[in-house]
Amino acid sequence: MITVLYFARFREKLGRDQESLPLPSASPVTVQVLLDELVARGGAWSDVFGCERGVLVAVNQRMAQRDSLLCEGDEIAFFPPVTGG
């Protein structure tokens, strides 16, 4: 299983802040594979993740890319560009 987190406007639009999912079965398992699964849910999921621009991802609390590999037990977070400070 993997843990997927959603922050800020993504969290609001999706109506949840986290969920546990099985590690996707594709090979190799990348962030993009997970994103494709989320988009396939349709509705708000497609709205949020269908457009690549403005979707940042962290794997195990470090910034990652679309082609970053995922492993069993990983924590993956999706969020919009940061606006602190």
Binding site: A8, A58, A77, F79, P80, V82, T83, G84, G85
Partner: protein, 137 residues
């Protein structure tokens, strides 16, 4: 803030630069009552720590403090404090500016502005991305 600066005084320190970011009372949508700061616990601390270490590699520093508040903050309240101590002023100014540019573009905080009872997510600014790009090497 005086306490954070005092904590940086010590052997060889000749310069302390602080940056305080405050909740502005104006936005594109109107007068701001408050902001609400959300963050990614765990990643926030790791990111800020890594940025402080990076600053320490780039400049000769004698002390660094970074504080960031979360939750609801009224207009005028401080959001973030960066304080840097060094022997000479150039390193302190540069490192403080670097830390703010990186924090603004890479630390997982998100801000909502409350205007007339409605909350608006703040959009990331292209000028912040450009400011952070200055430090690429």
């Amino acid at each position: 803030m005086a306490a954070e600066v005092a904590a940086l005084e010590g052997e060889g320190v000749g310069a302390v630069v602080t940056f305080t970011g405050l909740v502005r009372n104006q936005s594109a949508f109107g007068p701001v009552e408050a902001v609400e700061l959300e963050h990614y616990p765990g990643m926030t601390e790791a990111t800020l720590q890594a940025q402080v270490e990076e600053a320490g590699h780039r400049w000769s520093l004698l002390g660094v403090t970074v504080l960031h508040r979360i939750g609801r903050l009224p207009a005028g309240a401080p959001i973030v404090l960066v304080a840097v101590a060094s022997a000479h002023r150039e390193a302190a100014f540069q490192a403080a500016s670097f830390l703010m540019d990186y924090l603004k573009t890479r630390a997982p905080f998100w801000k909502k502005e409350w205007v007339n009872g409605v909350a608006y997510w703040v959009e990331a600014k292209a000028s912040d991305a450009a400011a952070a790009d200055r430090w690429q090497r």
